[in-house]
Amino acid sequence: MANSQVPNFFLALPEMWLLLAGCLVLVIDAFGRGKDRNTAYLLSQLTLAVAAVITVAMATDIRIFAFNDSYVSDMMGTVLKTFIYLVTAVVFIYSRDYLRERGLYQGEFFVLALFAVLGMMIMVSAHSFLTIYLGLELLSLSLYAMVALKRDDSDATEAAMKYFVLGALASGMLLYGMSIIYGVTGTLDVGQVAQRLASASEANNLVLAFAVVFVIVGLAFKLGAVPFHMWIPDVYHGAPTPVTLFVGTAPKIAAFAMIMRLLVEGLGDLHAHWRDILIVLSVLSMGIGNIVAIAQTNLKRMLAYSTISHVGFLLLGILSGTENGYASSMFYTLVYAVMGAGGFGMILMLSRSGFEADKIEDFKGLNDRSPWYAFMMLILMFSMAGVPPTLGFYAKLSVIQSLVDVGLVWLAVLAVVFSIIGAFYYLRMVKLMYFDKPVETAPLRANLDLRAVISVNALSVLALGLYPSALMNLCIVALTQP
């Protein structure tokens, strides 16, 4: 029997390490009952560091498959996974004080986050519809629980409930689409689906288009593209800020990987079908995301709508259907994860016990209170708006470039117009910080590690913006691998 040979377990070493370490953190935390949860925190950081070392050490130039082709190890996976570890480690550092002050500093937060990371890794390395779906469920289930972790808060529970119900609906849609594709091709393996689609008869086109619609609806729900974005503002607003920070950053990287594996690698032959759907989704996302964000008074909600508009941009690169487009989209995703971490990190830095700092007014006159961190926020806001020379500018530029390359000039113009509309609310933040009188006068009192990391985070956005080709080349290399 071909399939009774022992699978190449070694290839999935990063996943196995994370599963093992996650279970260890769970047990150690459960038995080491004390007031202090630092052990869980430090062990989680160690877990991520070791996982990063293993992942980088195992990086290969060629694509290797394992577990009957349901697992793939390639450059794209290595790069995305490394960024996921990095972003998650930063999230942990930012979250520590906030969690401690609100009685949420529990081992469960770290354990669930580690399992969410495991889910993302599985999605990134998945090469079968089944593993993609299971990774997605592992990620989503951990995130639902994390959103509800502040269980006596009615906003958080409401957010978790909405997230859970809509997430389950989206999973159903995705599964239905996958099952139709299985019905037509007779396989769940991404590579074989692509092969059979290349030789599929014309008669199946209608069915495949139908399946693609369901798959894209599922993906759009998970990404939060308009018109499937309703959960994003409520979840971002209702969840405790560290969870918002986590939900808004690392899973976007995994979602990008999921689109690449499902749509590009698996259903690449149906590009003509999914391109038009993605155009509609991205135009709506950029439009509604940027315009509704202007009306927000809560910074978390504003950043939620800003996420929606960034998702629109991310889809632009993918729908262009070229290697360059995919690379620019990957670049955009990574840049967004870094910027988003910084943005939510600032909210966490300003917050203290009993004060969330999630209103836009809370940033008024930040320059008077702390010129340095006002400058950091300025860099992050400029980057999100896409002002040169920050990283966000190059991300937007490369996506638009890839659109112009395939002749979608009208879409490129539309993207620029929406970015300019979006620049309004980012620049309003800058105006509030520099030209308004502070309402809050209490000095900032965040821990040294948080201050240091947030400065590095914001400065890296500026530094990489001055020299963007390093990260861009990494994305191109990752995607043009044979």
Partner: protein, 205 residues
């Protein structure tokens, strides 16, 4: 029409009816019981597909364990469903229109033309001694070892999440610890305080 087809249509009709009743009946206990019926008929459909092991698991696990627990929860919590069902008749017309359109679309795409015997070959029928359980076991531990392990991680997360969201560190109820109760002495509980009388005796002034 063979016996198998008649059976399929009978079970299919019962399944659709039961599924519809699950979301329309007012009493949650009846809804749970209709869900049991839906699981039972889908198990019957799986047996028609020669997937005996899955069918029996569905009956044992879902009907036997999960739904019984579910019924317990529904009965214990005494949820008032009236406010939940308030919007039902209001949204019904829109719901029917949307559902109708989707069903029509599904019918155009997923029909006999694309999934009939002309398009897809009839599955091979297995002999009576063919073990569905053994075949499943073989692929689960070989070809599907990786997804199988991921599924176990998902179950672990479900347990962690359920405990994290429901376990209370402090007990809400007051209870007596017997070992402390028996060593209690009078002086631990009662303190006798000498104090001057607050009020003059009546009639002395």
């Amino acid at each position: 029409m063979g016996v198998e087809q008649i059976l399929f249509y009978v079970f299919g009709a019962i399944l659709v009816f039961a599924a519809g009743m699950v979301i329309t009946v007012r009493n949650p206990v009846f809804a749970a019981l209709f869900l049991v019926l839906a699981f039972f008929t889908s198990a019957a459909l799986w047996i028609l597909l020669e997937a005996e092991f899955l069918a029996i698991t569905l009956v044992l696990v879902y009907v036997g364990a999960v739904m019984v627990l579910f019924l317990f929860v529904v009965m214990m919590l005494d949820i008032n469903l009236a406010p939940l069902q308030e919007g039902f008749t209001r949204y019904l017309p829109v719901g029917i229109v949307v559902a109708g359109i989707i069903v029509a679309e599904i019918y155009f795409a997923v029909n006999a033309e694309h999934f009939g015997l002309q398009a897809v070959a009839e599955p091979v029928r297995h002999a009576a001694d063919y073990s569905n359980t053994r075949e499943l076991g073989r692929v689960i531990y070989t070809a599907y070892a990786y997804p199988f392990e991921i599924a176990s991680a998902i179950l672990l997360v479900a347990i962690v999440a359920a405990i994290a969201l429901t376990l209370r560190a402090k007990r809400q109820s007051k209870y007596i610890q017997p070992e402390k109760q028996v060593i209690v002495r009078r002086k631990d509980r009662v303190r006798i305080v000498k104090m001057p009388p607050e009020r003059e005796e009546p009639g002395t002034s």
